[in-house]
């Protein structure tokens, strides 16, 4: 078996806001009935968190759940545990109408950390990122410039961004350039 590597192999662009590719992460796309008790239970077993409400993400460390659509969750686990998690989901949902797929190597995960991380993101996405509108715990699928992406806030100064592996180079470049150009001051804390 070949040695698995992430898209940008933990590349870092340091600055006032630092852009950091997060390396390998286990990601499972889970489609099914989000109201199903079996589905909710196995999600909790695998990630330790409950299925989040619409438009929310609950991620702690390497594990968590993101609400992708009315019938879809993104399950995050450590890369080494993804096969085990997938097996647990398949076992629990046997007989139900569902789909679970390991997409870990099809995606990239990028962190945006620093004082004006909010503005680095807001320059690239058609999303209201005002501190009153988008808070830690909120999750959004949208685009960053021309590429599809999803993101949530780990805390007030940290965004985690997921994009397709094939556009990781492009998205990293966008974020690094947006950070390098500095804050706009629109969301400045007063």
């Amino acid at each position: 078996m070949s040695n698995a590597v992430s898209a940008l192999q933990a590349r870092v662009a340091s600055g006032e806001v630092t852009i950091r590719e997060d390396g390998l992460r286990g990601m499972i796309i889970l489609r099914g009935d989000l109201a199903s008790k079996k589905l909710r239970n196995v999600c909790k077993t695998v990630t330790g968190v409950a299925v989040p409400a619409q438009g929310q993400a609950d991620v702690t460390g390497d594990k968590g759940l993101c609400w992708m659509s009315p019938d879809e969750l993104l399950v995050l686990v450590p890369y080494a545990e993804v096969d085990e998690a997938l097996a647990a989901i398949d076992k629990a949902l046997d007989g139900e109408h569902y789909l679970a797929e390991n997409v870990s190597d099809a995606r990239a995960l990028i962190h945006v950390e620093g004082a004006f991380a909010r503005e680095v993101m807001a320059k690239l996405a058609p999303v209201d990122l005002h501190p009153d509108s988008f808070k830690p715990g909120d999750f959004r699928r949208t685009r960053l410039a021309q590429a599809a992406a999803a993101f949530w806030m780990r805390d007030e100064d940290t965004f985690e961004v997921i994009c397709f592996r094939s556009v990781a180079e492009y998205v990293f470049g966008l974020l690094a350039q947006s950070a390098k150009e500095g804050p706009v001051g629109y969301f400045a804390k007063t």
Partner: protein
């Protein structure tokens, strides 16, 4: 810029997050229908200047289809609603009537 509220995921999505899917509430005529009916299904569209009903897909977001009532003349949005319906819900019709009394679109008023 057009902003539509996606009824499937609750997001106010910018036009660039969406994909336009043409006219809503088309009746699909298939095998057994007349040539005129099939022609109407394939080609005949309202294309109005004013009140219009459209299909949109939240393509960069939740990926779901939904329907929207808006004015093609002013870009005013009267409301959005789930695609699993054969006609606009009453609250959408009421919202249009409040702004465009006497509106008519296909068989809907």
């Amino acid at each position: 810029m057009l902003t539509l509220h996606c009824p499937c995921c609750g997001v106010d999505a910018d036009e660039t997050d969406l994909h336009a899917g043409g006219e809503a509430h088309l009746k699909r005529y298939g095998p057994g229908s007349s040539d005129a009916q099939f022609e109407e299904y394939l080609f005949m569209r309202e294309n109005p200047k004013g009140v219009h009903f459209e299909r949109w897909r939240h393509v960069y977001g939740c990926g779901k289809w939904f329907l929207a009532a808006r004015c093609t003349n002013t870009l005013e949005v009267f409301g959005t609603y789930p695609a699993q319906t054969l006609e606009p819900p009453q609250h959408i019709k009421d919202a249009i009537s409040a702004k465009r009394p006497g509106w008519v679109w296909r068989e809907f008023t």
